[in-house]
């Protein structure tokens, strides 16, 4: 095997040298700050070893925002290079690396952790649970994601990034065409974080099925929790296919097998099938939770129950089933034959039906509602036209014969950015604004948020609408430059301006967060939006055991019903006589250490250093055996402590 890194690249490339310097300076600053303010112990006790779903959710969200920045910088670099014809801002090799890391990071290391952040922050509070079903496993999921993302991100400065596209198709991604460690980084980073994703799917499926408060039947469950349930099922059935696709490609590259090679009977199309058997459900994995957010936000800020609750649930389930029958539409041009293409074309179009049902239900929820245009609501409202256009162009792409024209053109690029940004990113930002006070106890500043909203939204259309035209004019994806005189210059230049506007929008969000930490309105009620679901019955932020006593749920949107006087509001407050010792999981440093061991295995496989694999493997085995023999895993919070906390919050009854 031949994975000699281009060590020379370390110092000769100005961009990489710049990144090196930035990384070293940032690391030194963090170490200095932690040491100066004596925060190492705090970091370890409160964050690195935590099994609390709320803290894990916050860590996921911070990581997602950082990765949004990283992926966004990649995007701005690409748009800068494409702003005008014949630019040499980036060379072909760098451009390839950057579009690969942009796609990989945005999907796997931005959208996924953002989705998991909301899973963690919201679901236990919404169903009346004190944590997820497997808190220790939840910590493992997070740290595996974290070290997977870390592995992906260091590739740029150590040895070179992957450059075969985020889909990593063989034979280009095979050893013969992608020498060096870049492609290995991709495979290992996705594999390590993917294990964590499967574990998260198991965790939330069991949590939602088994840990709901008494009285909360499935038909009384909030729609966000329903979307998480549907998403968990998608994760469980989709991710193993990715695991296998990545593993077999890694075997090809490291052990010289012939799964996807051109020689000795290998079949590259097999990878593409396996990849998209995961990859198509994956886009629903990141969109369904956003749908859940919109259902919560639109209902709350229209002061109405969601229109057509049952059909909303039906639509989520239908999308998660039919979503598994559409993967071939990513490669209609493979030539699978008219019959196969027809099946997958129709299945793809069928998805538009449940999606359309959801869009109409959101509109009817707003209809005659008392609408409040708060920040989360603005993003939800902006989502609807954006996603409708993205969906319509999706149906255009689903027409198999026409797809031969659009395939791999900028038309496709515009389409999937419109659904992924207009759907997932808008949804995650809406969710972040909506649940921010529940996480941190203060609201994010409206004025700065509006600046962010308008910059990002206007920027979005300026950036991506010209790309539809570019696609129809023949511009294909993944080209690093183009000649003048094709008519592509003006749309490309406009698109780049849009990308910069979106970047300014993101900077406003950063400014908004920093500003609001100090000046943001404090949430003293725990219910700043006049919400409908259970999490708003708790103080902000919620105590670490969430519910001192578990309320009995007697209707859909029970907290809203209680506020309307239809149910007893006192049922949501703890009575002194009802408080019992609370059973909680103990913190553990092992998920963090276990994930470091996986990271060491990853480095070993990336560079073909067998001792690293052995050390990492033994570390993983040791951690798992220690866990198996560990019986002292939980503790009880004494009644006095619960009473003390609850009375300090002014919630204690009787």
């Amino acid at each position: 095997m031949n994975t000699v890194p281009h060590w020379g690249i370390f110092i000769t490339e100005p961009m990489i040298l710049g990144s090196d310097v930035m990384i070293v300076l940032t690391s030194v600053a963090i170490v200095f700050a932690l040491t100066k303010f004596k925060k190492w112990g705090w970091l370890w006790r409160e964050w690195l070893t935590t099994v609390d779903h709320k803290k894990i959710g916050i860590m996921y969200m911070i990581a997602a925002l950082l990765m949004l920045f990283r992926g966004g910088v990649d995007a701005e670099l690409m748009r800068t290079q494409l702003a005008l014809p014949n630019l040499s801002f980036l060379d072909a090799e760098h451009y390839d690396e950057i579009f690969t890391t942009h796609g990989t990071i945005m999907i796997l290391f931005m959208a996924m952790p953002f989705v998991f952040a909301l899973f963690n922050i919201v679901v236990p509070l919404q169903i009346g649970a004190r944590d997820v079903a497997f808190p220790y496993l939840n910590a493992i999921s997070f740290w595996l994601f974290f070290f997977g993302a870390f592995l992906m991100n260091i590739s740029f400065v150590i040895g070179g990034s992957p450059d075969a596209g985020w889909t990593s198709y063989p034979p280009l991604s095979e050893l013969g065409f992608s020498n060096g460690p870049g492609q290995n980084y991709y495979l290992l980073a996705l594999q390590i974080s993917g294990i964590g994703s499967i574990a998260t799917g198991i965790n939330f499926l069991v949590t939602i099925l088994k840990m709901r408060a008494p009285g909360m039947t499935l038909w009384r469950m909030p729609l966000f929790t329903w979307s998480v349930l549907a998403t968990s099922i998608l994760i469980l059935f989709a991710f193993p296919a990715l695991t296998i696709a990545l593993a077999l490609l890694l075997l090809d590259r490291t052990l010289g097998t012939h799964f996807f090679t051109m020689l000795h009977g290998g079949n590259p199309m097999m990878f593409i099938n396996l990849f998209w058997i995961w990859g198509h459900p994956e886009v629903y994995i990141v969109i369904l939770p956003a749908f859940g957010v919109f259902s919560e936000v639109i209902s709350t800020f229209s002061r109405k129950a969601t229109f057509g609750y049952g059909s909303m649930v039906f639509a989520l389930v239908a999308i998660s089933i039919v979503g598994f029958l559409t993967w071939v539409h990513h490669f209609f041009t493979m030539g699978a034959g008219a019959d196969v293409n027809t099946f997958f074309a129709i299945a793809t179009m069928v998805i538009a039906i449940p999606t359309g049902v959801k869009v109409f239900n959101w509109l009817f929820t707003m209809y005659r509602g008392r609408i409040r245009m708060t920040l989360p609501m603005m993003w939800a409202v902006a989502f609807i036209p954006c996603f409708a256009i993205g969906g319509a162009t999706g149906v255009m792409l689903a027409v198999a014969p026409a797809d031969y024209q659009y395939h791999n053109s900028y038309f496709l690029i515009a389409h999937f950015h419109q659904v992924l940004i207009g759907g997932t990113v808008f949804g995650m930002i809406a969710g972040m604004y909506y649940w921010w006070p529940k996480m941190f106890g203060f609201l994010l500043d409206e004025r700065l948020g509006k600046w962010a909203f308008w910059f990002f939204n206007i920027g979005f259309y300026v950036c991506f609408l010209p790309q539809y035209a570019l696609g129809l004019m023949g511009m294909t994806r993944r080209i690093y430059t183009y000649p003048a005189g094709l008519g592509w210059t003006v749309p490309n230049f406009i698109s780049t301006i849009g990308a910069y506007l979106m970047g300014i929008g993101f900077l406003f969000i950063v400014w908004q967060v920093i500003y609001s930490v100090k000046y943001g309105e404090r949430d003293v009620t725990g219910d700043p939006w006049d919400g409908r679901t259970l999490e708003w019955s708790l103080p902000s932020p919620a105590p670490h055991y969430n519910f001192a006593t578990i309320p009995t749920i007697e209707g859909r949107d029970a907290w809203w019903m209680a506020k309307q006087g239809q149910l007893d509001k006192n049922a949501f407050l703890p009575k002194k006589s009802d408080i019992k010792p609370i059973h909680m999981p103990k913190n553990s440093g092992r998920p963090f250490i276990l994930s470091i061991c996986f990271f060491i295995i990853g480095i070993g496989l990336v560079f073909g250093v067998v001792p690293f694999d052995v050390i990492g493997g033994l570390g993983v085995a040791f951690c798992m055996f220690r866990r198996s023999f560990e019986y002292d895993t939980d503790y009880y919070i004494p009644v006095d402590e619960v009473i003390h906390t609850e009375s300090a919050l002014g919630r204690l009854q009787g």
């Binding site: 004190r130 497997f134 808190p135 799964f259 000795h264 097999m270 396996l274 909680m584």
Partner: protein, 217 residues
Amino acid sequence: MTTLAHNNVEHHHGAGDHVHVDYPERPIEYQTQDGALKILGFWVFLATDLILFACLFATFIVLRTHTDGGPTGKELFDVPIFTAETLILLTSSFTGGLATFEMHRGHRNRVIGWLIITALLGLSFVGLEVNEFVHMAMEGATMQRSAFLSAFFTLVGTHGCHVSLGILWMTGIIIQLFQRGITPITARKVYIVNMYWHFLDVVWVFLFTIVYLMGVM
């Protein structure tokens, strides 16, 4: 983690561990809420593992004729060997079931005995498989030879790795049974490792049919 249960009952089992029991009326492995959650979680995990194997089977079926002029299954597979492997693994599933049976009757030593027999049968299965692999490699049928052999070794080897992990895991649980006896926690562990073991048996039935029987046909 545990949320609802407050009517905890102190149980005294085996070596005297204090285990909080939430549902005394249920079978022992389901008596703690944590145990019930973990068993359901493991069922879900097995579903994902099944999909993992399904993808490997799909890859094998696509590539099984891609022998690149090299050896075919018909030339390589040894009927007595893979029949013996099958019988050994099926028997080990039965002895694993007997361990669970004795666990419900509260006989710690018999549980340990049956688990040791199960693990030994698993070990002899792995031994036969390693022997088969080495033989094939000696004849030049390595996983680098053709796409068919890449798929064969990966599919069968993944199953073999699962069985090997199961043996290590079972050994850990046998030690815990020695230390702690049958408690709702160790019972849950015995139950789950047996679920895993039976699952591997089911996968093997498909391997036996699709890889070996259809290979020698």
